[in-house]
Amino acid sequence: MMSFNFAIVLKFQEALLLGLWTTLKLTLICIVLGCVLGFLLALARASKSAILRGVSGVYVEFFRGTPVLVQLFWIFFCLPLILGVELSNMASGIIALTLYMGAISSETFRASLKSVGREQLDACVALGLSPWVRTTSVVLPQAVLRAAPTLLSNCVSLFKESALVSAVGMADLMFVGQNISNNTARPVEVLTVVALIYFVIAFPLTRAVTVVEQRILKRLAV
């Protein structure tokens, strides 16, 4: 007869917290870099240049259409060979998840860019705004506002998907959890706690999506 022993997890709380810190650091960096990349990709996909549209389109479809795990392996093992330089685990993880976040957030931005109407652009021309001011002061803020709810969902996805970096040996929360579970032969308890930690962080964020959505819709309802 098997009994649960959750107390055992407490012994490893420091290791788990360290793993969580790695996960959070990785996720936050990739959210910031990925969103910048995603916005640029969205602009490229809406650009007049067929080359820019083509390249960005292939990029986005490739990263959306292949498993993140395979992308990770690719960056971790093939990229150093191609570049001829050693990459730290963290660097590889950042590159891989940023490329992925760029692809999914670009779709979010693309939809929100489309929602900034032609009339807004007419108003920009009538006010003599340069293309740069138009993009940074009118289009970008509106696109970000409209994209915010979906973007927040993208961030939660990324946070959870980041657990995959454990498969290539990065010491994130998932990796630490697996190690503890192997060493203690208590997979149920340890992995349940790990799942709970992910949930405690992800759940408020998914709730926030609804709140943010309502507030933004009210603001932009013109």
Partner: protein, 256 residues
């Protein structure tokens, strides 16, 4: 440039969409600095397109526009429209659907162009903005967002926003068409106020009462050409052309 040079001189203006839908078919209009031109005519007659061309928002097929005697818009040989951006900055436009920036509050909408285009300091721009808002009875709304305003308030903010750039010509494109009837007057009042200050303007409107009160000159535009052009009493009251007469009778519901 002599004192009598026209403020706007439109010559042989042609504009089509894809060469198929011909919207403007050879417009010649000369506007003096003191003119308040109201353009009336049936839908699809080219009124709004004319304003959009004047604002530099549209490509043209052929023709040219001079502003204060200087070249402003022309079509070169290869069918490209050349627009002088510097001249364009001296023209302001207000649209039917307000087109305020929803992510900025009222003050933010007003000071964006002056600070970004002219490099004016925020403090100076804010001061000018508050003065304008006070004049238009909107001082209390300075920090409101467009979504919190009524249609009439939005349109007055849009007018103030255009005035922040000290335009030498204002274009109004059916600015009261989207408003509830009880909000029309407050917007027209603001435009009348500008007219009293001798602001040159071109107005497209379906509101004949307003046209009569504000125009120094009425142009009846149909089928992409100027059908009739004259003082309001004549064009609205006793039109010479049969097509103008038919149109006026229909909008005023009068049978002679």
């Amino acid at each position: 440039m002599s004192d009598t040079a026209a403020l706007v001189k439109i010559e042989g203006l042609h504009k089509s969409y894809g060469g198929v839908i011909k919207v403007l078919q050879g417009l010649d209009i000369e506007m003096k600095a003191g003119d308040r031109v109201v353009v009336i005519g049936p839908s699809g007659g080219g009124k709004s397109t004319l304003l959009r061309v004047l604002m530099g928002l549209e490509q043209i097929d052929s023709g040219s526009i001079l502003f204060s005697g200087k070249p402003y818009i022309s079509a070169n040989g290869s069918g490209k429209t050349v627009i002088d951006a510097k001249v364009r900055r001296s023209i302001g436009m207000v649209f039917q659907h307000y087109t305020l920036f929803p992510h900025l509050d009222v003050i933010g909408n007003l000071i964006l162009a002056p600070t970004k285009v002219r490099g004016e300091s925020k403090a100076v721009a804010r001061e000018r903005a508050m003065a304008l808002l006070t004049r238009f009875g909107l001082a209390a709304k300075a920090n409101a967002y467009p979504a919190q305003l009524s249609g009439g308030q939005k349109q007055r903010v849009a007018i103030a926003r255009a005035l922040m750039l000290d335009p030498k010509l204002m274009l109004f494109d059916e600015v009261t068409s989207a408003l509830d009837p009880e909000l029309v007057a407050e917007v027209e009042q603001v435009i009348l106020q500008l007219a009293q200050q001798q602001m040159p303007m071109v107005i497209v409107t379906h509101d004949m009462w307003f046209a009569k009160n504000i125009a120094s000159r009425v142009i009846f535009c149909a089928g992409g050409v100027v059908v009739e052009d004259g003082p309001p009493e004549q064009v609205l009251g006793d039109p010479k052309e049969e097509r103008t007469r038919e149109f006026i009778e229909r909008v005023f519901h009068i049978k002679h």
